[in-house]
Amino acid sequence: MPTDTKRVRGPEASQSPSLFVSKPAAAPPSLGTRADGRRWGQVDVRPLFVRCGLVSQAKGSAYLEAGSTKLLCGVYGPKETERKDETDMKCGRLTTDMRFAPFSCPERGSWIQGSQDKDLSQMLHESLQPAVCLQKYPRSQIEVNVMVLENSGSVLAHAITCASLALADAGIEMYDLVLGCSIRQDGDSYVVDPSYTEQNSCSSVDSDNQGNLTVAFLPSLNQISGLQSDGEMTEETLTAGVRTCIEGCYKLYPVIQQALAKAVRRAAPPPSES
């Protein structure tokens, strides 16, 4: 392995202490209630805490907390595109960068951005782009940077919500907000807004319908801008899952609207009617 000359050097290899735990973790929770008290098969999203404008240097920013999942998003621009060959005279560019803090997951993450981060950045980009009025920003670029501070599941879904909130806070023109919601399908039942353990748990029941689904939804235009699923699900289960996610998004909508209204009011009093 090449040595990293740009960081303070540690040992060549180290292991997480959780690999050496003598006792296995507590038994998986029984069907019906979930570890955090929410119910299976119900559109039970975790209560959301959102706040705009925490990053002073950014044009717009948003902080989102759902259960223990904590995300911060900053939006910069529109500014000159960095690379001349990518300049588009008619339309702006949207760039997304999503990263996990090394301490954000139960297992320590690497300093170097992994392929998972890049995949998530790409999905975030695809989910947001249809909502942004990019033709209003010719020859410029808008940067969306998301930092995951603590990963307690459903990170992509919450990153989408958080990023669209930051874009709106930055005053970037958009056709609609984008909300994200995800479910974990486990046999005949499902959990909405799964936590980290739920997302990665493998049910003992042998079944076809096992997988995760994340939907990005434009609530006012009633359109889906992004859909990501893994695992194996039948067609009916998947369509039902998409509907469940949309229902979940509508539950988040008022919280997001209020947070934005609060940010607008804090930024300036209403203009005079004259």
Binding site: K79, A131, P138, M174, Y175, L177, L221, E273
Partner: protein
């Protein structure tokens, strides 16, 4: 006053005409910004509906806009500048622009010398004439009486006083330097 977020349906297209911060879709007007909903009668048949925020939303330099910029470098063919303001709104991110030799002034274009028009560090008022193409920056012009250098420092470091349309004088050493001077406007005297 009513607040809205992007995607909020504001009204039917027959009730209002769209202003800024809004877009039309399927016969309705929707908001594209988070801000206050403003209805104004501007003499037309329909009131104009707009969504406004604390600052002018996301201003980008557009053709015809008057911009304030700082000269970063000069060469015999053009001067490179950084655009600081569009109108009176400061830009958070800086954009680069170019003032070509032939766009410095309106008369005797072939006799223009960029060294006698601008120096790095000068604050210049200019007008956007084109967004440029993929390779170039914004193209700006100072070929109007009101456009040109508004603030400049002499070689001695003092802020100079304009004495004609093409000369400025240093108050400390009384040396004269050439500039394409903008006609002095009252609001710049206070600064």
């Amino acid at each position: 006053m009513k607040l809205c977020v992007p995607g909020d349906k504001l009204c039917n297209i027959e009730d209002c005409s769209p202003g800024t911060g809004v877009y039309q879709r399927h016969g309705y007007i929707y908001s594209s910004l988070a801000g206050y909903v403003l209805r104004k009668n501007e003499g037309g048949q329909l009131p104009v509906i707009s969504v406004v925020r604390e600052t002018e939303a996301q201003l980008l330099p557009d053709v015809g806009a008057i911009v304030t910029c700082k000269v970063t470098s000069i060469n015999p063919r053009f001067a490179k500048v950084q655009i600081l303001y569009v109108g009176s709104t400061p830009l958070k991110d800086r954009f680069r622009g170019t003032i070509r030799k032939e766009d410095v002034r309106a008369t005797e274009k072939d006799k223009v010398e960029t060294y006698k028009s601008f120096r790095p560090g000068d604050i210049v008022l200019a007008k956007v004439i084109s967004l440029g193409d993929v390779q170039s920056n914004y193209l700006l012009t100072t070929a109007e009486n009101e456009l040109g250098v508004v603030v400049a420092h002499s070689e001695a470091g003092a802020q100079m006083v304009p004495i004609s349309w093409c000369e400025m004088q240093c108050p400390r050493t009384h040396t004269k330097e050439f500039r394409k001077v903008a006609r002095v406007q009252p609001e710049y005297l206070q600064a």
